[in-house]
Amino acid sequence: MTQEVLYWQALNRALDELMAVDEAVFVLGEDVGLYGGSYRVTEGLYAKYGDWRVRDTPISEGSFTGLGVGAALMGLRPVVEIMTVNFALLALDALINMAAKVPFMSGGAFPMGLTVRMPGGVAKQLAAQHSQRLEHTLMNAAGLRIVVPATPQDAYWQLKQAILSDEPVIVLEHELLYFSKGLLDETLPPPPPHRALCRRQGRDLTILAYSKMAVLAEEAAGILAGQGIEAEVIDLRSLSPIDWNTCTDSVARTHRVLIVEEDCRFAGAGAEVAATLAERCFTRLEAAPLRLGGLDLPTPYNGTLEAQTIP
């Protein structure tokens, strides 16, 4: 049954469905329980599943993410919520040193069915320390998987896939997408977890984007169409691994690629995409790949300036 839902509702539904069938799934994080989640994603779950499975934690990301790692080592499926990606900096030891590496270092002896959910991106005047985009940092940590759903349907699918996966998956959401609307069909079979999707077909250039920028790219493509330029828009949906086949198929046809990211341009997520596409599609390109990314500076608090720092 297809319904129009909000992004946070899609996440909520995914959590609820999986928690209902598998006791190993539990949620932990700041304000996820009594408060229902700072972005409402865990609304109603505390009342339904109790405080054993929906745990409010102290403000100590390193500790509770580490707790999640430990639980995952024992075969549970924790869903850790870090309030924003900025706070994940305090949990990097748990994420990069432990979650990403223990399965390798133990020769596969330990599972790591850990899911870490966090919103990232520039919101509205949350200032520099609360507006960071750290996808590039997490991408570079071999052993982690990262998905970036842009729509409620993808949020639903990808959160479920992340929880059911035995690999550590980071679900990178976006503060400004939580209240975005979209159609959700729970019965629709999902694409493979890290597959990129073509959101709009075109022939003049390929626009590659993820998360909120994918939504923006579709809008931009609509404007370009009015100028006679047909842009193909690909939503990457996953930053680790990246679905290169979908990307190269598109670029092989359009011969031009524009990468749009909210991440700061220098060594941002787009840098990997640009480099790899240049390698894989060099002889099909009419021009070097172009990246449109965030400015390389801490996000200003002033609203006008803030708006000018991202595409």
């Binding site: 009419e286 400015l295 000018q308 991202i310």
Partner: protein, 423 residues
């Protein structure tokens, strides 16, 4: 302040133009409206006027150089000292190296005045002498001040192509066995895939390795255009049909009424075409384009090459009006002032080589956009002359052409210049 002069766009399809010559030199005073240079498009020569009072300032594009439209070709300075000084270009046009990746350059608050716009605009606006003159792609038409900091940052340091070949074009050239060096370049002097494909479809180039010594000279814009137009007709299936007739009556009438003989030829053709509307139609991929008005394009030989000014509605208008139009067209042709509307869109073509008495027969190629062209040769000693109609066989069959020629021959021999009232 120095204000840029740019290569003007003289027609819809003009992509490059040739700066023929400067009529002034740097430091000379110019007044608004004064002609300061001559610019050639593929068919027309235009006088470039100064858009304001001032002094012509360099660097000036070299004479006889081919440049993309909207490129800067020179400057008008407000003062003579400025015109003659070696001052750097005004802000916004400053050619600089791409900015160092230092954060400082991008940390500037994005107010219009503070943002260093030059770095991204430098390439498109530089005069040609510095060899970086790509025409700005559509997205870059806004001024530096109008662009967001994010866009400026993303374009900063991006190498504007100035010559060379794109990876795709190189790959295609390899696959299609085309020597990239033999290709004409596209905008910005870059060879793109389109050029490679066009060369592949255009057919082979001659191999002059064993030919006598030769000099390569670029043809004039007009000759180049003629070459393109004629090459474009190779996929038109054509046949010729010839009649022989006496044109003395028409010649006498021309002398008597002091009208151009060619004009009268055109007139008789047009009136005959009205009775054979198929001759006035043209083949298009969507279907036949039927036209009621007969616009006759008349081939004219000029020192620069062949051009066919078009006389409009030759069947419908009074002869005096047509004569005046023809006079104007010939004048424009001589002064190389024809505009695209003057030479494009003919529905029937006429070529008269009758002034060459030893040429007793010739045929012509049917240009795109028409279905027939009439070639008129000189009369022989007996006074008979051969006229040959080349036809697009997708539009006209032999019998269609023959019927037309029967009527046309009769009309020409009888010099029927007005619509006949007989059946």
């Amino acid at each position: 302040m120095k204000h840029p002069l740019t290569m003007p766009v003289l027609s819809d399809t003009m992509e490059t133009g040739r700066l023929s010559r400067w009529l002034k030199k740097p430091g000379d005073a110019v007044k608004k409206g004064e002609v300061i240079a001559e610019v050639e498009s593929d068919k027309a020569l235009m006088e470039l006027e100064a858009f304001q009072d001032g002094y012509l300032a360099g660097p000036l594009a070299p004479e006889d150089s081919e440049l993309p439209v909207k490129n800067v070709i020179g400057w008008i300075a407000d003062s003579r000292e400025e015109a003659l000084s070696e001052e750097p270009q005004p802000a916004g046009e400053q050619p600089t190296a791409p900015p160092a990746p230092a954060e400082a350059t991008q940390a500037v608050p994005p107010s219009p005045a503070a943002v260093p716009p030059a770095k991204t605009e430098a390439a498109p606006s530089q005069p040609p002498l510095s060899r970086q003159t790509p025409p700005p792609p559509a997205a870059e038409e806004t001024t530096a001040e109008g662009r967001s900091p994010v866009v400026q940052a993303s374009l900063a340091g991006r190498q504007q192509p100035a010559g060379g070949i794109t990876p795709l074009a190189r790959e295609l050239a390899q696959e299609l066995n085309i020597d990239p060096h033999s290709l004409p370049t596209g905008p910005a002097g870059v060879i793109r895939a389109g050029q490679v494909l066009a060369a592949a479809l255009a057919g082979p180039a001659p191999d002059l390795r064993h030919s006598a010594e030769y000099d390569i000279k670029r043809p004039s814009g007009l000759r180049q255009k003629v070459a393109e137009n004629m090459a474009a007709t190779t996929s038109t299936p054509q046949f010729q049909i010839t009649s022989r007739l006496h044109l003395n009556t028409l010649h006498d009438l021309a002398r008597q009424r002091e009208l151009s003989f060619t004009l009268l030829l055109a007139r008789v053709c047009a009136l005959t075409i009205q009775k054979h509307p198929r001759v006035n139609a043209a083949w298009t991929p969507q279907g036949l384009a039927w036209r009621t008005q007969v616009d006759v394009a008349i081939a004219v030989d000029t020192p620069d090459g062949l051009i066919s000014p078009v006389l409009r509605d030759v069947a419908g208008r009074p002869l005096e009006e047509l004569a005046e139009d023809w006079r104007i067209l010939k004048d424009k042709t001589q002064r190389r002032r024809l505009q695209p509307h003057d030479y494009e869109g003919g529905s029937f073509y006429l070529s008269n080589l009758g002034v060459f008495p030893r040429v007793f027969w010739f045929d012509a190629l049917v240009p795109l956009g028409a279905s027939a062209i009439l070639a008129v040769a000189a009369a022989d000693k007996a006074g008979r002359c051969a006229i040959t109609l080349s036809c697009d066989h997708r539009v006209l069959a032999g019998a269609d052409a023959a019927r037309f020629m029967e009527d046309l021959t009769a009309a020409l021999e009888n010099a029927r210049l007005e619509e006949s009232t007989q059946a």
